[in-house]
């Protein structure tokens, strides 16, 4: 299934989880639990040692995954092994994509990722101005390239992204790194208004952690919601308390269901 199709019929729920957090086997079950809970696409983090765009929660998840032995090669194996009928988006940093394979440049990794079953990329430290080589490689292998629009993104920068984006656009609901917050920013409506004429689905992220948040974001006009920290918190807590993988997977599935239901409720009110 393509990324855009994941948004076609109803508001999409797009969870983020770091592959390998806290272990390869456990996170494989977590991905499948999120799919059972109603995920329409999954942003699957490939951990990088310097994740400058992440807040503490996801940064710690990345540290756990790296300590658990996750590497780009194992990540690709992981992707091939995922047993779920949802598109997977690789979220990582440019250096890992750039260094993969024998020759420098993103092509080798994009080719390998496409073969493993990845449908698209989100690369938070790759601005649209530097994205040409990755965009070309994605085109060559039929993958999407998602860009993040920040509350501060304006003017020419919006145009540069609009020209290159595919799959969906990741709308950052407020300033800052990733992390669950109690408030849902009122930046959302304004952010969506600025990209109203883009012909890709608009998914809003940063700070959504309850079904009620999801509902409000969708009511404000989002085509989907992206949730990371609220889910990673569940993984972290389970890890700290020594809970079984099955228990944590159940909690994730339940949280996923809450968020997906919230998103659906947001759309229902609109009609």
């Amino acid at each position: 299934m393509s990324l855009e199709a994941a948004f076609a019929d109803e508001p999409a729920f797009v969870p983020y989880i770091a592959a390998g957090d806290p272990s390869y086997e456990a996170s494989l079950e977590y991905v499948e639990a999120l799919a059972r809970g109603g995920a329409d696409a999954i942003e699957l983090g490939l951990p990088f040692s310097e994740p400058i765009a992440e807040g503490t929660t996801i940064q710690e998840a990345i540290v756990r995954a790296l300590e658990g032995g996750m590497t780009p090669q194992r990540y690709l194996e992981f992707v091939s092994e995922v047993d779920a009928d949802v598109p997977l988006v690789c979220m990582t940093y440019y250096n890992l994509i750039y260094q993969y394979g024998e020759s420098d440049g993103p092509r080798s990794f994009v080719e390998a990722a496409a073969e493993a079953g990845i449908e698209g990329f989100v690369v938070p430290d790759l601005p649209a101005e530097e994205a040409g080589p990755l965009r070309n490689a994605c085109d060559e292998f039929g993958l999407d390239l998602v860009f993040i629009v920040a509350p501060t993104t304006e003017g020419e920068r919006l145009e540069t992204m609009k020209a290159q984006v595919s799959g969906y656009v990741y709308v950052q609901a407020r300033l800052g790194t990733t992390g669950a917050r109690d408030d849902v920013s009122d930046h959302t409506e304004r952010s969506l208004a600025r990209i109203a004429d883009w012909d890709v689905p608009k998914a809003v992220g940063f700070g959504i952690k309850t079904g009620e948040h999801a509902e409000r974001i969708v009511r404000a006009g989002a085509d989907g919601i992206i949730v990371g920290s609220a889910l990673v918190d569940i993984v972290a807590e389970g890890h700290e308390n020594g809970d079984s993988t099955a228990t944590v997977a159940d909690r994730l599935e339940e949280k996923a269901r809450e968020l997906k239901q919230g998103a659906l409720a947001g759309a229902a009110v609109e009609q």
Binding site: F48, S49, E50, P51, I52, A53, E54, G55, Q59, V63, L66, T71, P72, Q73, Y93, Y94, N95, L96, Y98, Q99, Y100, D104, P124, D125, L126, P127, E129, E130, F147, I148, V149, A150, P151, T152, T153, E154, R157, Q172, L175, G176, T177
Partner: protein, 432 residues
């Protein structure tokens, strides 16, 4: 983004989208105030560097070293700048720029604590709140600088991720900035990061070579044959090289930290050195494409040096470019040789250098010094072929901050020229 954000293929702006507007705003301010002296910015900067910083710094002939190496050795005394290191050039420049831009808060990362100290001083001087991010490992080994920052009124935020050194502190400061860009300026401490930082930081430090180039000609009637500076991120290096770049007769040596070994442990992800110019390869770190220490997957290595200020897995993109172009020669000096050089400069010239700075002197000893057990002396002709008849070395900082480290590290080694430090063990207490 303009093409002059690049040095060849190096540089660029690899940052999260939330930071791009701040980077663009900063680029605009850099061009207006720094490059075009709008509102007299550069005049005020130079006035303050004179009255508050103490510029110009002298160029001093090192009599004992000149005799030892049979070459004229001149010292550019950045250790005499207010704060005890070259760092104030950049810190005061950027804090002043933040004021001109109307920002209300300063954040900075620090490794050795010299940049944090300089930023805290500049922020106090210009009356603007300041928070410093510092790795917990560095906090432990640079306590005097932590006290200085606190004394100047700065908040010091410990960074506990990774190994708790400079690269983690930079990542953490970038995170703060992406939350607070609207009212906060990030005073980056070296010629690293996204454009315009590498160019702007170099410009604030280029006063070092501007002065030195004139001073050496006044003293000797000629340009030097070689210029040496230590290189971690590379800010004192580019400051010392900038005005000599076009002087083709002047050889430029960037002396990196060879640490305990130049080899790399892929298993643990540790490079026991900080020699990214000598041994790193191209990649993207902290907003720029440059030479970095990384494993075969592209994960960033933990670097090492006895000197906290050189302990960084990347290097400024301009230096990476100048090395590829053959204009700058990267060389390196290991921990042992740096410690020896620390004691030599202290004993022979009465200057206690920063451990960073000591690396540059370690290279001088290796090339021009007398024979040692493991190494035959080069002939006078050989080392004169390399360094020439007159050498300028940047004394980038003073070593007071490093005394605890030096006492401990010297105690762990068998150095020929180390003073007897046993008195500290007998007294015990705080120093050990």
């Amino acid at each position: 983004m303009s093409t002059d954000s690049k040095f060849g293929d190096y540089g660029g702006q690899y940052v999260p989208e939330a930071l791009m507007p701040a980077i663009e705003e900063l680029t605009d301010a850099y061009e207006r105030y720094v490059l075009n002296n709008e509102d007299g910015f550069m005049d005020e900067f130079r006035d303050r560097m004179r009255d508050f910083g103490g510029r110009p710094m002298p160029l001093q002939r090192a009599d004992q070293l000149s005799a030892r190496y049979d070459t004229e050795v001149y010292l550019k005394r950045e250790d005499l700048l207010h704060g005890g290191a070259h760092k104030l050039n950049n810190a005061l420049g950027q804090v002043l720029l933040a004021k001109y831009m109307g920002k209300e808060r300063i954040i900075a990362e620090t490794g050795a604590g010299q940049h944090g100290t300089a930023t805290a001083m500049a922020a106090a001087h210009l009356d603007i709140p300041c928070e410093i991010y510092m790795g917990e490992t560095d906090i432990a080994r640079q306590r005097p600088n932590v006290f200085r920052m606190r004394t100047n009124g700065a908040e010091v935020n410990p960074v506990t991720t990774g190994r708790g050194t400079l690269k983690e502190a930079i990542s953490e400061t970038m995170r703060d900035w992406s939350r607070t860009v609207e009212n906060t300026h990030y005073v980056i401490g070296s010629i690293v990061g996204p454009h315009p930082f590498p160019s702007m930081v170099r410009d604030f430090h280029s006063v070092i070579s501007e002065e030195a180039r004139q001073q050496i000609q006044e003293k000797t009637g000629d340009l030097p044959d070689s210029v040496l500076a230590c290189a971690g991120g590379g800010s004192n290096t580019m400051g010392m090289f900038h005005h000599f770049i076009d002087d083709e007769s002047v050889d430029l040596y960037a002396v990196e930290a060879g640490g305990s070994s130049l080899s790399v442990d892929e298993e643990t992800g540790v490079a026991p050195n900080s020699a990214s110019l000598s041994t790193g390869n191209e990649g993207v770190l902290h907003g720029a494409r440059t030479k970095i220490l990384q494993d075969s997957d592209g994960q960033i290595m933990e670097s090492h040096s006895v000197s906290a200020g050189l302990d960084y897995a990347g290097v400024g993109p301009e230096l990476a470019y100048l090395v590829d172009e053959g204009r700058v020669e990267p060389v390196n000096v290991d921990d042992d040789s740096a410690l020896e050089a620390f004691h030599r400069l202290s004993q022979d010239e009465g200057i206690i250098p920063a451990l960073e700075t000591a690396h540059a002197f370690g290279y001088l000893e290796r090339v021009a010094g007398p024979a040692t057990e493991g190494r035959a002396a080069e002939s006078r002709d050989e080392h004169h072929d390399r360094l020439g008849d007159s050498v300028v070395i940047n004394v980038s900082g003073r070593g007071d901050k490093d005394l605890e480290t030096v006492i401990e590290e010297t105690g762990n080694r068998d150095l020929d020229n180390a003073p007897d430090m046993s008195i500290f063990r007998e007294i015990g207490g705080g120093m050990l």
